[in-house]
Structures are given as structure tokens and as C-alpha cells.
Symmetry: C2
């Protein structure tokens, strides 16, 4: 059973991404270049880390989970590239660098997003990956990711976001939108880790509860930072949500209640981990670290 | 072993697509509406038909192959939606109707494409589908489709197309581009059908050879029809490739040689089917019908 030390997660993920989306001298090499630009730029890698950690906490083989961890990051990155396009949010900066379409043009950015989304499934369902985790786990984990990314998950959340633009929406709509848009992918990460370790149902449910709570807490913290954060550490203009007339947790609940909600969700998340015993320690710390993050 | 009569293929595929992408009253219902608009518009359904027919010719269960046949059509449809976007080919008509983005706007069309691409994998890797064909076949077939659709396949072909715009390209580049852009998906359809029937390697190779030949013949015939076809039956303006300054098989080879190449590729395709005996009859007829099509 191959384990990876948490301090080596980021490196293992980066190495996987480099391997699955290599530089290519093919005629379509420019597509790989655009995919790599956004994929290798960094970011918190929260989703792949969650997958690896839940896989390890359930006693699974983390090394063979790397293709699945990388697939999560590919899906996340594709969504950022498409989100930044002029016909969507029209953002020219991402993670402190020019957006994909600013560097490579709209057409290539569109294709890079499409190709990253597809590469996620190619990576999880390669012959090596299927042989390594077994077809049952590979198919199930990839199916969870597909469901979480599509019309019932992330893409559906984007659609709700699109039609909510420039108008006030009630808190329950905002929560449903965020559950779709970002929550489902975070929940998928946790569940995929458990599935790859062939964990019992109890742990799958605990993972889902934990991930749902930290996912929502993450969004609320985002809104808090959009009002309070420092532009340098955030990598995007402060107050941009407010200027766009978007409903946020802070605008709906007020700052104080928003902060209290982040705290109670974080408490719920850590409480959900009881069935993991000491093996849940890293995940407890992660929930707390995310709730107090400054960027 | 459930078999479907060829005359019922189109109906079975349409019913599958209706089921896997239903009308939804969810907040993101408008996304399903846009997905259905392009998906249910019709088209030749060549890819899903190829899959079903190869599955049947290899003695497989066609009913349980329906999710995979539908997944092919979802991938094909997503590629058309994204292709028509203003930043790509900027086409306002598709299959004789206004393009997706003309009806729903660019942002929703972008999302509808993303969601169809994702729904393809969701459909193939649903719990029902995995249970029905078994995880080994499900994972392998979905892996083939992923590889064929992504950076090494269709999306890569689009990239080559993008950088070849408004310039003359040599015949071998055009062939490589078309192999990536459309050939790989047609080959994937044939191979997936064999894989779902757990066919021996000999049949997989024959299927690949057949599909590669009809795929290229299809492209050449497209170029011939672009010059010669009637606008009504084609559903797009005649001579549009020529006006765009694109290199085509007709512009490179001349009309006579282009026609001869369609014929020889079709002969190669039908010859490849020898190991299927009488079970390859429908596929032989299909190759011939495609080579003499008028739209």
C-alpha cells in the first residue's frame, strides 16, 4: 500500500499533471501549451488533496489514486478557463496572471477547456489507471466525477449563476447554486477518495457530510474575503462581486452572521469525521485552515 | 441477448437521448433546454448506429449498448455547438436551424456544450450502465471515447483546423487533421461496439480499419458536396469552405481524384469486414450509402 506524506501532496499532484498533460510536438502542440498554462499555474489543489487524504484515511493506495486526483484538478481548471471567457465573466486575470484567453485567444482557450475536461476522463480511464485500481473502482469514481461536473452539478450551477446575474437572489437559491457550482465537486473529491479505497458506506456518508460543510464554508469565506481581503493575497480585485451587483452571503446575511456560519459549518465538518478516529486529524486541520484563510 | 432491428436504430437512439437529457424543472432547467435543442434536432446518427451495429455484429447485447451510443451523439453534438460559436467558425445555422448560440446566447451555448460533453461520461458510467455491461467493458469503452474526443483526438483536430485557417495546407496535414477531428470519433464508435460485445482482437482491428476508411471517405464526400451539392439538402450554404479559403480535398486533389479516392476507401472499408461474414452486410451497405450520399 503506497502512501504519500501530506507535505508531498502538492508535488505529487504537480508531477501527475505534468505527466498527463505533457508538452507535445504534435501539430496540435499549441493546445497542450494552453492546457498546461492554466493547469500548472498552481492554486490550492484542495480537491485533489481531499481525494488523496480520504483515500489514505480509508486505508487505500494513494499512489494509484493520483490519476483521479489530477482529473479533479483538470475539471476545476477547465471550469476556470471557460468561466473567464468574454461571454461568461469576462475576467482578464486569474491567480494573479492573465487569463487563458488573454494569452492564447478565445478560440484556443475554449478548446483548452474542452480538452482538459475530456483529459480528466482519459486520465481516469486509461488502461494503466483501470489496471491499477481495478475497473469497478475506476468506473465508479469516474462516474461520480462526471455527475458532479455536469448539468446536475457544476455546469448546472454556472447556469443558475448566469440567470441570477445583476439581480438579488434569496439565500436558499444562493446556497443551491453554490452547492451545484462548487459544492458537488468538493463532495465528489471526498467520495472518490473513499470509493478508490473501497471504503464502507459509513465512511462515504461521513466524507460527504464533511465535504458539503467545508464546501459551503469555503464559499462564504470567499465572499468575506471579497469584502475584507487584501488584493495582493487574493489575486483578484477586492469588492469585485459587490461591484457586479451579485448577491453574496455577506450582502444577504451581513458580515457577522456570515462569519458565524463559517465557524458552525467548520465545526460540523470536523464532527463528521468521528468514524475516522486519528486518521481524520489532517482533514480536521484542513477544515480549520480553510475557514481562517486569507486568500 | 437483446437485439434491435436496424430500422429501429434511430428511434432507439432518440428515445435514449430523451431519457438521458430530460426536460428538468430545476433552477438549471434552461441548461437542459439548450442541450436538448441541439441534441434532439436529428442528424444522421452515424456514430451511434456504427456502435450498435458493430456490437450486434460481434454478438453483443445492443440494448445495454444504448447509453454508449447516446454518449457518442452527445460528444458529437457538443462539438457542433462549440464549433458554431462566434470565436470559432461563427456559424449561425446548423442542420437547417439557427445555431444554439443564436437561440440561447453565447454563454448558455458554451455551457450546453460543456454539459453535453460531461453528460456523455455520466451516461456511460451511471450505476445502471456499469451494472448492465459490467465495469470492465464500461470503463474500457468510456476510456476509448475520452481518448478519441480530447487533445489527441477531436479537440486536437479542432486546434489544427484553427491554426490552418486562411492558409493552404498540404494533403498529409489535411488528412492528419481530419483523422483527429472526425476520424477518431468514428473509429471510437466502431471499437466501442466491439468492446461492449467483448469481441476478439481480430474484429477490433477490422472495425478500426473499416471506420478509418469510411471516416476519411466521409470527409472527402463532404468537400465534394460543398462544391456540388444542393443547398437545400445540405442545410448549409454551398461553397462555404471555398469562400473561407480553406484547403479541401477537392481543392488539393481536384474533383476527379477526390471521387476516385472516396471509391477506393469505400472498397477498403467493405473488404475489411471479411471476418464478420454475413453479419457485416449492413455495414457494407452503410459504407456504400455514405459514399454516394447527397447531404
Amino acid at each position: 500500500m503506497s502512501r504519500i506524506e501530506p507535505r508531498n501532496y502538492a508535488e505529487a499532484i504537480q508531477a501527475g499533471l505534468e505527466k498527463y498533460v505533457p508538452e507535445e510536438k504534435l501539430l496540435q502542440g499549441g493546445l497542450f501549451q494552453a492546457m498546461r498554462y492554466s493547469l500548472l499555474l498552481g492554486g490550492k489543489r484542495i480537491r485533489p488533496i481531499l481525494l488523496l487524504e480520504f483515500c489514505g484515511a480509508c486505508g487505500g493506495d494513494q499512489e494509484s489514486a493520483i490519476p483521479f486526483a489530477c482529473a479533479l484538478e483538470m475539471i476545476h481548471t477547465y471550469s476556470l478557463i471557460h468561466d473567464d471567457l468574454p461571454c461568461m465573466d469576462d475576467d482578464s486575470m486569474r491567480r494573479g496572471k492573465p487569463s487563458n484567453h488573454v494569452v492564447f485567444g478565445e478560440a484556443r482557450a475554449l478548446l483548452a477547456g474542452d480538452a482538459l475536461l475530456t483529459m480528466a476522463f482519459e486520465t481516469m480511464l486509461s488502461q494503466d489507471s483501470i489496471a491499477s485500481v481495478g475497473p469497478q473502482r475506476a468506473a465508479r469514481a469516474a462516474g461520480i466525477l462526471a455527475r458532479a461536473s455536469g448539468a446536475y452539478g457544476m455546469a448546472g450551477g454556472q447556469m443558475i449563476d448566469l440567470q441570477s446575474e445583476d439581480q438579488k437572489i434569496p439565500a436558499d437559491t444562493l446556497i443551491y447554486m453554490d452547492e451545484c457550482k462548487t459544492g458537488t465537486l468538493i463532495v465528489a473529491a471526498a467520495k472518490m477518495g473513499c470509493v478508490l479505497a473501497d471504503a464502507e458506506e459509513e465512511k462515504l456518508h461521513a466524507a460527504e457530510k464533511y465535504a458539503k460543510s467545508i464546501g459551503l464554508a469555503f464559499q462564504i469565506q470567499d465572499d468575506i474575503l471579497d469584502v475584507e481581503g487584501e488584493q495582493d493575497s487574493l489575486g483578484k480585485p477586492i469588492g469585485s462581486d459587490l461591484e457586479n451587483g451579485k448577491s453574496t452571503y455577506v450582502s444577504i446575511l451581513g458580515m457577522e452572521k456570515a462569519r458565524a456560519l463559517v465557524q458552525s459549518l467548520t465545526d460540523e465538518a470536523t464532527a463528521a469525521l468521528s468514524c475516522f478516529g486519528a486518521r481524520g486529524d489532517y482533514l480536521r486541520e484542513l477544515a480549520i485552515a480553510l475557514s481562517s484563510r486569507k486568500n
